[in-house]
Assembly symmetry: C2
Homo-oligomer: 477 residues x 2
């Protein structure tokens, strides 16, 4: 029995976190690199994970009345230029198509970096009256941003995401939508991905190009850096004015509608890896895991073992669990390491002695804990254990978030704390000059003003002016 493919060692997290990350995404067979820098291939395991994420989020969107559409890949240069803040933010980092077949195009087309302009053009076609509002649209697609430094999932030239784009008769309705979708992201990130996060509003320096304001969820990673993981933008009627979108209200007056957009991307997979992974590889929360449990026959050559393992896998699948049975001729040890690397939440071992005793062995990926469990009633026991693993991962992520959140009252205090990473909470006067000075001194960027006010002092950490605004800071991915 030749173990042709060896499970190789990965770099330990504490030795080199960046190398650990790169090792995990390759060894867990999540991605492969293509010959275009910054464009990766999502291998079946990553794609299955992304499809689980998509299906849960899509269900949440549809439950709140959203509909999916598909917009074109290309934006003419003149269309991108219609909203001036937006084009200033995106034009420097788009890919340009200049030729179709053998002919030079009369106008350059960019490959969409985001689709506000396309949605606006479409809205101008289809919205005439108050009857046509609201439109609550979303699309699942890939977008392209010509980044200089790239890392799989975290920052790539092409990435997959969903982008919601909605348009409303009133500012209040649009604002409520902006906030509702941010809460949807927070709900999903906490309850399905078990991430530790804070929610809040971006400062003006950090908001989306063209937005009046941007809400964000910021997740705390194992290494103390923050990952912006989902954002929701309120546009007011700025885009509507730039694109000439108007509707007649019930009193027959012509008015401009109000818009939002919001997005979550494959970046969140990077967040999942850096929150839960350990020195044996990935750890995937059960609710989104492509494989929730792997069944491994022990002494599979002995009579009855394979049959029993197949029956067990069948029973678990029939109960609605996502189960893999590994019948290959690799050794159990090889298989243990392989599925640890892939972060499968639950391993179920079944050998001749177990079968005699009417039991199997359950091994948790997160804690490593192993215990025997009776075969009778196993589907219920496995489900309960998966729920416990899910809850336990969230507890651990929240504990990391709490342990890595500090406060500072002065720039000196903050400078002393900053090298440890994590979030630092301070008061802030609201001035962009103070925000910039803190960044220069500490290297940390503002993450968000939390929704729930958190009183940690009375004066701005930088200039000392009186204020009641709290701001979170952190090093960012």
């Amino acid at each position: 029995m030749a173990a042709e493919k060896k499970v190789e060692q990965i770099t330990a997290r504490d030795v080199d976190f960046a190398q650990w990350y790169t090792d995990v995404v390759k060894k867990a067979e999540l991605v492969d690199y293509s010959s275009v820098k910054g464009c990766v291939i999502l291998r079946p395991y990553a794609q299955a994970l992304w499809e689980n994420i998509r299906d849960i989020l899509d269900g949440m969107f549809k439950a709140t009345g959203h509909e999916n559409v598909a917009m074109p890949l290309f934006i003419p240069e003149s269309l991108l230029q219609k909203e001036k803040d937006h084009v200033a933010g995106f034009a420097p980092e788009v890919a340009w198509v200049t030729h179709g077949g053998t002919e030079k195009l009369t106008e350059r087309l960019c490959v969409r970096p985001t689709s506000e302009t396309l949605f606006c053009e479409h809205y101008a076609h289809i919205i005439q009256s108050w009857r046509d509002l609201p439109k609550l649209y979303n699309q699942w697609c890939s977008v392209v941003r010509w980044e200089k430094t790239t890392r799989p999932f975290l920052r790539s030239r092409e990435f997959w995401w969903q982008e919601g784009h909605t348009i409303h008769a009133t500012a209040e309705e649009a604002e409520a939508e902006t906030r509702r979708m941010l809460e949807t992201y927070a709900d999903f990130a906490e309850n399905d991905l078990a991430l530790g996060l804070i929610k809040g509003r971006k400062t003006d320096s950090e908001k989306f190009a063209g937005a009046e304001h941007t809400y964000t969820i910021e997740c705390m990673m194992h290494d103390g850096k923050a990952l912006q993981s989902g954002t929701s933008h309120y546009f007011g009627d700025g885009f509507a004015r730039a694109f000439g979108i108007q509707f007649t209200d019930k009193s027959n007056a012509l008015r401009y509608p109000f818009q939002t957009s919001w997005g979550m991307s494959t970046r969140i997979i990077g967040g999942l890896i850096m929150t839960h992974g350990d020195d044996s590889g990935l750890v995937i929360p059960p609710r989104v895991a492509p494989i929730q449990a792997v069944v491994i026959p022990i002494a599979a050559h002995k009579p009855g073992v394979l049959d029993a393992a197949r029956a067990l896998a069948g029973t678990l699948r029939a109960a609605g669990l996502r189960v893999k049975l590994d019948e290959s001729d690799q050794s159990p040890g090889w298989k243990f390491a392989e599925y640890e690397m892939k972060g499968i939440p639950l391993r179920i071992e079944l050998g001749p002695r177990d079968i005699e005793q009417g039991q199997c062995v359950l091994a948790r990926r997160d804690t490593g804990e192993k215990r025997p469990a009776p075969l009778a009633g196993l589907p219920e026991a496995a489900k309960a254990l998966l729920e416990e693993i899910q809850a336990s991962l969230l507890r651990a992520a929240r504990a990391n978030l709490a342990a890595r959140t500090g406060t500072a009252s002065t720039l000196d205090e903050m400078k002393a704390l900053a090298p440890e990473g994590g979030f630092i909470k301070t008061m802030w006067c609201g001035d962009a000059a103070c925000e910039e000075k803190v960044r220069e001194v500490t290297g940390m960027k503002s993450r968000c003003v939390p929704f729930a006010p958190e009183h940690v002092g009375d004066t701005c950490v930088c200039c000392g002016k009186k204020t009641d605004t709290t701001l979170y800071w952190g090093f960012q991915y």
Copy 2:
């Protein structure tokens, strides 16, 4: 009660089929045009239809062991050029990216027109041993081909599709896969989309660029033209040799693997429209319909009507049907026309008198037939009727296919028949020169050599040489 949005008349099919088609895709709110020629927007109704198609096909792929991946959008020019027949077929019609941000790229990238070259590059990375085979991969994405003449769904510069790409240890296994996926397409097109079709092998002149052979399903439209609706290609080891993909077999010898690819696209929505639509608009087969039944309250202002309609819609949804309830203040007449235009298979009317009598009225979109039905047991009755509509649409499509298939023994016979359109079945010697001459004389192109031999003579329709090969001809979309 103002019917602000009128259901406008569409051109009759017999007056101008092309205009009828354009009217339907706009008035049924399937697509909107973007400012880039040949790039359309899939509006919510078309996207929901495409997602139903995707989910059914994806289930069929996964049931046969296929896994989804996501490949990059861009192909470097040098990579596209590695297989010479393939690049010759596609290079003239690709969109070229020449700049990233403000910098000129050192090598042009094309926006994928199809992804064989990307899959090959990836396979070269991940395949070393017989243990790594087969790989049965698929992806859902959009691709770009810079067409000169464009029509929504039928021929566009960007379109959405799935592309399966598989790689096998033996030629036999790859050939079996090629044929299996073609049969999957035929099964889906007949049983879910209710299309009338023939299955067969493309001639060498019509096969895919780089393939050894191509299988196809060809659907017969209402106007007598043929629509190539799904293709499956066998590549032999040509791509493997061009891309240096090799594996060590069980005896430790280095060998080239064998490949296939297969695709079905949003084009199939055009086929659905042109098969089932009528002068009142779309007709969508129940199995893929985004809305299977629409409930329309009659005299909705009368007490109890809206409540009863809501209860009815709820009961049907609970039984697993996709149901819309239209509570808007538009008139019933406006609603009837609107949902006829959208091709919703079943309309359920419910008024005060119906409620008194414990019944509703069921109206079939396909035949226009209306009949009362008791509210008790309605979910079962509606399901049975939807199945009958599905079967009836397939019978009608097959009848159209049969009525529009003729045979010819000589070029003169064929020339006389051709103006009526449809398929013409002839014998053919296998010579590309004869194929080309028939096209010149009749305007018809070869569609396929049917899998099941159909003896319609002994000699080639063009040169008169003895042959036992049958060939289908037709005008094509």
